[in-house]
């Protein structure tokens, strides 16, 4: 088991290294590193000084070693626009994104599970069919368009919710959070709903399939035969068994929710990492782009690694398969 984890860790390190090569090649070979790393306002003498200073006149493998060394120390360059370390900028924006993503995942549970439960219990009813048809829309509609429609209906036409921004924030552990104030919550509702639509559909379908699969099983029949109330059978015996895959999938989806926050944040002008990266791409603030790409790759690899290890601990079949 330890060797398996070590091997997995080794693989992940290799993937991170491969990604640094890809990002490095993307920025230094395909693009012109002088344009990318030096501010366009610099004059000729300063350019030459920086080129020598940054080692851009060195052979490529030395430059890569320099880049990697900087990355290991957490130095991925300074933003041209904010004149601050790129990594620090991203770290500042991260809480807003995390807050949004976690709320979206909570939303997908609170909406997805009851809807899926209903659709699973009454698969042929009108409402059950409507829910399933709606879930197809949740999968296929582009989320930015849904976000626009939410703004159009709730902010412009009805005027009940604020259209953009983060609202009033409250500081906790030195970080501003929106979920601590009523105004912040009001601002968060639409973006979080928008971000969670895909996951709501996913959870809904998983729950429905689970209910349909579990209902004919022996332990459900037995629970009914014992004379337990229908509510107890469904909410304790059936639901408990369905929640395992649902929670697993949601854990895996947290990563892509953070990635898709790029779209939602742009629509709702939510000041998170995603908005920062889009703004940076549009003004060609390359150090921030590189830092974001490296951060998100690390994040994904960590999530995948943790999920794999948890799976191995939880599921004996995977554990034994890994041993042989």
């Amino acid at each position: 088991m330890i060797t398996w984890i070590l091997r997995r860790l080794f693989q992940s390190t290799f993937v991170v290294l491969a990604m640094t090569v890809i990002v490095f090649v993307g920025v230094h070979v395909i693009g012109n590193p002088v344009d990318i790393l030096i501010s366009p306002e610099a004059d000729q003498a300063e350019r030459a000084r920086i080129i020598a200073n940054m080692g851009l006149d060195q052979p490529l493998w030395k430059q890569y070693a320099y880049f990697l060394g900087g990355a290991l120390k957490g130095d991925l360059g300074r933003s041209f626009v904010f004149n601050e370390p790129a990594l620090k900028l991203i770290a500042q924006r991260m809480p807003a994104t995390l807050e949004l993503a976690v709320t979206a995942v909570l939303f997908s549970m609170t909406f997805g599970v009851p809807l899926g439960l209903y659709a699973g219990l009454k698969p042929d009813g009108f409402l059950g069919r409507t829910i399933m048809a709606g879930s197809i829309l949740g999968f296929s509609l582009p989320s930015f368009w849904v976000g626009l429609m939410l703004i159009m209906v709730f902010a412009v036409e009805l005027g009940v919710l604020p259209s953009t921004g983060r609202g009033t924030t409250e500081t906790l552990f030195g970080v501003p959070w929106s979920f601590l104030t009523w105004d912040g919550l009001r601002h968060m509702f639409m973006p979080a709903l928008n971000l969670s639509l895909f996951n709501i559909s996913l959870v809904l379908r998983l729950t429905r399939a689970g209910v349909r699969e579990t209902l004919p099983m022996d332990f459900v029949k037995f629970a009914r035969a014992k004379g337990l109330s229908p509510a107890r059978v469904i909410f304790v015996h059936v639901l408990k068994n369905i929640m395992i895959p649902v929670v697993t999938v949601l854990g895996l989806e947290l990563g892509s929710t953070i990635a898709f926050a790029v779209v939602t944040e742009s629509v709702f002008a939510w000041p998170g990492m995603g908005k920062l990266i889009i703004d940076s791409i549009n003004v060609l603030d390359r150090p921030v782009i590189v830092a974001y790409l490296m951060m998100i790759v690390m994040l994904f690899i960590t999530i995948n690694l943790v999920v794999d290890i948890l799976y191995m601990i939880l599921d004996p079949r995977v554990r034994l398969g890994g041993k042989s």
Binding site: P142, W145, L148, S163, G255, A259, I278, I281, I296
Partner: protein
């Protein structure tokens, strides 16, 4: 009584679903509108000489100075939305279909390659597929466009890189099963050249699941292109696709000028949903598990 060929059976099974037929009809109409955009559109939205900034942001149904009625209103440049949408649809469809087909060629080749060579090549290709599929598509596309910059060809390239892995994984899985069958063995016993066995005998039998994936990927590609263009990373502003048209109207939507974003959005929606309706029925018809 007509003889039952596989193709006729396929057509009649597909036609069994009215919803799918409706989807196909809608998509055909949309495709025709896009193809004949230059004939149908009352205005060439790329010809700046035909635009009048004074016509900007007119609501649907307003008459222009030249007596023409703007059916769906105008955008901020004074462009007729209906014409702009037809041309935008053309770009969206071309990018979506083009990238899906190109990705199909790349993914299928690599998938067949992996299935037939096995060993190191197989492991290498499938590791790459696993790695890529562990990242969400939007992120992969974002990375590529962040490095390459805007442009129609860059978007197509990004979409191909995003999509090829789905084809490769599925084709490999199908090919692994099919190559165990007797007809492949028979073909190999005839000492036919390797490429002939792969492309004439194996590939046609791997096609059904491939067609299903291709349909779904066209819809995904169109949605992803629209998203990227909306974020300002996709097609250039001179030739707006549906996503960029929506983005252009976004700032005016807050002041109640809904039509600039709304109609391109509805068009995008109808396009994606109609393709998905067709795709779902294709999946049901072509899935051997549901049949036997």
């Amino acid at each position: 009584m007509k003889e039952e060929t596989p193709f006729r059976r396929f057509v009649s099974e597909f036609a069994a679903s009215k919803v799918a037929l409706f989807g196909l009809a809608v998509f055909t109409t949309i495709a025709l509108l896009a193809i004949f955009a230059s004939v149908i559109a009352p205005q060439n939205p790329y010809d700046l000489a035909q635009l009048d900034i004074m016509d900007g942001r007119l609501p649907p149904g307003t008459k222009s100075a030249t007596g023409y009625t703007f059916l769906l209103g105008t955008d901020d440049q004074g462009r007729d939305m209906f014409s702009g949408m037809l041309y935008g649809l053309r770009i969206s469809l071309a990018v979506g279909v083009g990238s899906a087909l190109f990705a199909a060629v790349v993914g299928t080749s690599l998938g067949l390659f992996a299935a037939f060579l096995g060993g190191r090549a197989d492991t290498a290709i499938m590791r790459l597929v696993d790695l890529q599929l562990s990242f969400p598509s939007i992120l992969v596309a974002l990375m590529i466009l962040a490095v390459l910059g805007k442009g129609v060809m860059n978007v197509v390239m990004a979409l191909v890189i995003v999509e090829w892995a789905y084809y490769a994984r599925n084709v490999r899985a199908t090919a692994m099963v099919e190559r165990q069958r007797e007809y492949i063995e028979a073909a190999e016993c005839l000492a036919l050249p390797r490429w002939r066995v792969v492309f004439r005998h194996l590939l046609p039998n791997c096609l059904p699941p491939l067609i299903v994936i291709a349909t779904q990927q066209v819809a995904r590609a169109i949605a992803l292109e629209a998203t990227l263009s909306f974020l300002g990373l996709g097609v250039p502003i001179t030739e707006p696709s549906l996503g960029l048209l929506i983005a252009n109207g976004y700032q005016y939507m807050l002041s109640g000028k809904y039509w600039i974003s709304f109609y391109p959005g509805i068009t995008l929606l109808v396009t994606i949903v109609s393709i998905n309706l067709v795709g779902d029925q294709l999946r049901d018809v072509l899935n051997p598990r549901l049949k036997r």
